[in-house]
Symmetry: C2
Subunit: 110 residues, 2 copies
């Protein structure tokens, strides 16, 4: 079941298209962390976090290794942070665009 470049791109982007997963990736920012650290950081059930981590793993965003009874996750390719920085720039752009529109709306009401 070989996957095209486009499918891989979609898979990578899909893995990053959830707020919780985005924050998990940020939390892993260059630091390896065990699930036992990740779970209490987010207000989600342990099973939910586990599924998110597995999804990130399947998409090749993170790697994992076990050490005794813990499993440690880390970001596999630091490029993901460059990617996120690009998205940030776009997101900030959308937000400022929206603010501008709101201000124009208010001005027209006044």
């Amino acid at each position: 079941m070989s996957r095209s470049v486009t499918d891989w791109r979609a898979k990578i982007l899909g893995a990053l298209s959830d707020p919780t997963r985005l924050e998990i990736v940020e939390f892993l920012d260059k630091e390896e962390r065990c699930v036992c650290e990740i779970v209490p950081t987010f207000e989600r059930a342990q099973s939910t976090i586990s599924k998110h981590l597995n999804l990130l793993f399947e998409a090749g965003i993170v790697e994992r290794r076990t050490e005794g009874k813990r499993t440690l996750y880390r970001v596999r390719n630091p490029r993901v942070f460059d990617l996120l920085r690009e998205v940030d720039a776009m997101a900030l752009d959308q937000i400022s665009e929206l603010k501008k529109a709101e201000e124009m709306l208010e001005a027209s009401i006044r």
Copy 2:
């Protein structure tokens, strides 16, 4: 209903997390195109393409304007292409990683 930066990031990434939409964005690469050009390019129903375009619009990826009876779409922020290039690099990396694994598997069988 104001949206956080993380939510916007997720929305942008979600809009790009589908192979058809990725290809639509590539097709719009700096060129404005009408729906009548986009639809026949993809093997999808017109209604399907229309929904994809609207989703890209909602996420702020594309802009649109009408000219007579046609609607023309274009990419709103060329940054999206920088983003896609980053994803490409990651996708190629995953693929070569997979190939390497396959080769090692074959070698171990031989």
